[in-house]
């Protein structure tokens, strides 16, 4: 068994060798680190985007979760209260509010403006009593509406069915697009790290030959490559943080109203809107570091095993 001291000196050796290599192949190092930085940057922004959309949709969704239950014209307030109790018992329902037909008329009047007095026009209030039902989520609205529809004294249940469907589709498509692009970027970063290490192995062929001849174990030969991968990860994370800082500064210098738009690959949010939630704090830094080092180390591990075979 190796002592702690010899492990430490071996680790120091890996680190020295890795730094020598990063310096020796400066251009390759810069290209690799930049790619990792951009990859991690885009990953971070995708997750921010997902959060931004969810925020937007939660807010919009509030309306989508709402059903309007119109009672039959003959239903009185007592019937409405009974129905309210019944509806309240449904598991999908969060809140139910009784809307008196007079209140309904007032709302309608507000919508049309005061220029046309509705009651005067018709002679009486034509609206039935209604219930305003809030469901747990837009996805459950349709099912909830169907259940309420079957209840006695219910005339009609309205809810924005098309909007609900579009909302569900949109969230799904944004998630898919981001997953696909994330994986693509990770593959590009992996290929670059692999090639950087291939260059490194070529540059170190004499070292590697000597190591193998004097009896270094295969993992000792691979060690400097793994360390190189870790260093790529750390440098890549620093790059991402720098990039984020730069965008934050730009955003502060040129503030504009954020926008959402639909384009070739689905719905997009302008980067500025994502930056509203960004803060370069301990959590953000550690997340970026973990992602970057994880990606780089994993790539380096595969490269080291493929490029340096056991004897």
């Amino acid at each position: 068994m190796r002592s702690a001291v010899s492990w430490l000196s071996l680790l120091a050796f890996f680190l020295e060798e890795a730094i020598v290599n990063l310096r020796r192949h400066g251009l390759v190092t810069i290209a690799t680190v930049t790619t990792i930085a951009v990859t991690i940057g885009v990953w971070v922004f995708f997750s921010l985007e997902a959060m931004a959309w969810e925020k937007l949709l939660i807010w919009e969704g509030r309306k989508l979760e709402r059903l309007c239950v119109f009672l039959r014209p003959e239903a009185d307030e007592k019937t409405a209260e009974k129905l309210l109790e019944q509806v309240q018992k449904l598991p999908e329902v969060v809140q139910v509010r009784f809307v008196h037909k007079d209140e309904g008329l007032k709302k309608l009047q507000q919508m049309f403006g005061n220029s046309v007095p509705l009651e005067d026009l018709v002679g009486h209030n034509p609206l039935p009593h209604a219930l305003e039902v809030t469901c747990r989520s837009p996805q459950e609205a349709a099912e909830c509406a169907a259940k309420i529809k079957r209840m006695p004294m219910v005339d009609e249940v309205t809810f924005p069915a098309v909007a609900v469907q579009r909302y569900v589709q949109m969230v799904r498509s944004i998630r898919w697009r981001n997953h696909v692009l994330s994986v693509l970027l990770a593959v590009i970063a992996f290929i670059l790290i692999f090639n950087a290490l291939r260059v490194s192995v070529y540059g170190r062929r004499n070292e590697i030959r000597i190591m193998q001849l004097v009896g270094a174990t295969v993992w000792t030969v691979r060690g400097p490559l793994l360390m190189e991968g870790l260093l790529y990860g750390i440098l890549g994370a620093l790059g991402t943080l720098l990039l984020t800082k730069l965008l934050l500064v730009l955003n502060a210098v040129f503030p504009t109203e954020p926008t959402y738009w639909t384009g070739f690959m689905g719905n997009w949010v302008e980067w500025r809107i994502l930056l509203r939630d960004v803060q370069i704090d301990g959590v953000f830094v550690s997340q970026v570091l973990l992602l970057s080092m994880g990606l780089s180390f994993f790539s380096a591990l595969i490269a080291a095993v493929r490029l340096v075979r056991a004897v």
Partner: protein
Amino acid sequence: MVLLRDVTVRYEGGVTALQNVNLTVEKSEFVFLVGPTGAGKTTLLKLLTRELVPNEGTVIVAGRDVTKMKPSQVPYLRRLIGTVFQDILLLPDRTVWENVAFALRVTGSSSREIAREVPKALETVGMLHKAKSFPSELSGGEKQKVALARALVVKPLVLLADEPTGNLDPTSSLEIVDLLLRINRQGTTVIMATHDRTIVDAYRKRVVEIVGGRIVRDELRGAFRRELA
């Protein structure tokens, strides 16, 4: 220390590099391996470090059956064997000290061990005064001495030298062989493949001659060429 029994090595394409080779080298022996280029000398040395595995036969080094060894055990075999070559493999961007220390660092030695063993090895080959020099500042003979120090620093039981004087002038060549002999007298088994007739004839050590992949001569105090009785 070294035992080859009925060893045959065939390269891809059907070329036979060694055929039915039997050889025993005892502990602390000094052996010159001679023969024309392509005779199989390097192949034989590569069998001992397990850079090659024979198609047939058994190779035993320091009591270990090299042919049946798992890849994970090979590094530990190589720690028992020192190697020097004609193309002196020194790292150009490291000093003499760092080149020798490299062998210890990669086998997990502590800084204390390195600080103790590197000067000893450099002293043995007479290169301690050049410890801070870079390989580019050294002559061919000096470089080979540094390579020898790197092979010695791990305290090998067997030292394999493949044409170590191939690129050196006669004086440097003699210095290197003198060093190998000194190391041998301290108990290390030395096997040296060489083309250098002068050296083999001058030292009169055991000579094993390989021609066309077969051992054709094995003399205890031999010359470079077979001598008529």
